[in-house]
Symmetry: C2
Subunit: 265 residues, 2 copies
């Protein structure tokens, strides 16, 4: 069923499309993997930096220690690039690692993108010439997996409870775990959970990078069917095409919120 408002929006969108049709064929920054053709000139022989296979658990331990020094984003980034720096020296040891401290709490405490994911995303882009499918795999895994699933060798406290975030966002990830574990969001136990989570994300990131090196990488976390259904109207090529993204939709949007006319999700 189409509401009056939706119909009006569609007319508006169609008008917009007409205005834009003269631009067809020009470069657009479309989906995640789509690139401006002009980006090609932005590749140089020394980029991305070379990767050699690492031990996922060694990197997870380094990430845990990194978390204690610089939080989640620093932890996942230092867990891998720091490991390469120790083994290989330059260029890895030239990186200003401390800048990653800012990713704590989803970016200076704003609870947007999980800092461990932000750090690993930057690891992928620094080490792989086609990082988008690797990010898709990591973020897709993070949304669906019961985490944390890595216990460091010397934890500050034990973490017995796991949760499924249904989102790559710090806010949803932290709150779902707090609810499952029945502990406060600014407790040591939640902080330790995020340290274990950082180690878990780092281990998964290294496993993905190693599979890429072995030419055995394949996506195991495609978009859920119901998200594909939402996207069939709202994303690229859909009738409405008024959004973008790959996050779970139902984490923020609910049937109660969208009204009776919208198809149930």
């Amino acid at each position: 069923m189409t509401t009056r408002r939706e119909a009006l929006e569609m007319i508006g969108l169609a008008t917009g499309s007409l205005l834009l049709c003269s631009c067809a064929g020009q470069a657009l920054s479309g989906g995640g993997g789509a690139a401006h053709p002009a980006m090609a000139e932005n590749q140089s022989p020394d980029f991305p930096w070379p990767y050699e296979k690492l031990d996922p658990e060694a990197c997870a331990e380094r990430a845990y220690q990194g978390f204690l020094k610089g939080h989640c984003m620093y932890g996942s980034f230092y867990g891998i690039i720091g490991e390469l720096a120790e083994k290989k020296g330059a260029p890895y040891n030239t990186f200003p690692f401390k800048m990653m401290n800012i990713g704590a709490g989803g970016g200076a405490g704003w609870a947007t993108l999980c800092g461990a994911l932000n750090g690993s995303m930057l690891v992928f882009t620094l080490l792989d010439k086609n990082p988008d499918p690797l990010v898709d795999e990591l973020f897709g895994w993070y949304q669906k997996e019961a985490l944390p699933n890595y216990r460091p060798q010397k934890p500050r406290v034990e973490i017995a409870v796991t949760s499924i975030s249904k989102s790559p966002l710090c806010h949803a990830s932290v709150s779902r775990w707090c609810k499952a574990a029945k502990v406060k969001s600014f407790s040591l136990e939640r902080d330790e959970r995020c340290a274990w989570l950082t180690a878990s994300v780092t281990k998964k990131t290294v496993e993905i990078l190693n599979a890429r090196m072995d030419n055995t990488f394949k996506s195991s976390y495609p978009l859920p069917n119901y998200v594909k259904e939402c996207r069939s109207c709202h994303d690229k090529g859909g009738m409405i095409e008024n959004t973008r993204g790959k996050m779970e939709c139902g984490t923020c949007h609910s049937n109660a919120d969208m009204g009776a006319e919208h198809p149930k999700i």
Copy 2:
């Protein structure tokens, strides 16, 4: 009014607190600006990199050109660090700028943190020893300002419509603008809007950095009162304390969604 579920949750939280009380006083990664004491050892004399005042409009133009090469996160980062690299050389020109390409579309198209904000957040942390208040100012401004508010000298198409994102997330920012402008999310016009937005964010970032250099920086975008009200129960020190973050709450949470027992927002 407290529902049965809320009461049960509070009992659970209280139990969790008791379990944790023996750990009181240990380092916690609390709010955005809170740091592990251990982080102190993570500061070296050559970090952060020195900043000298830049021309906001020159950086905005560089950011716009950067967007055309490497999207939003690359644009805002290169707009400022690239400008310093051209003026000063090392260490700025040693940075592997191309890694920032991955921030496109809120991180490989996932529509999480706006890439222009992610890039600017990393600029702040690379150039300032206390970047959290600067990030708060930029993100707070982004949530409330009608954007884009900077027109580059040679745009690909004209962008006449602005919108207020009410969120630092790419998904909300893009969809609100698409609705206001009545154009599709994968159109050239939306892409150009994001290019102008990247330039706008870069200009604001430089203005903040310049104010910091002049010792005139002060926060102009505190948390909205209703967000403070939500946090009084749900964030650090609140009765429930089951979340963290500084994003607008009502962008995702609605009265319809939260049920009749929850106070209206």
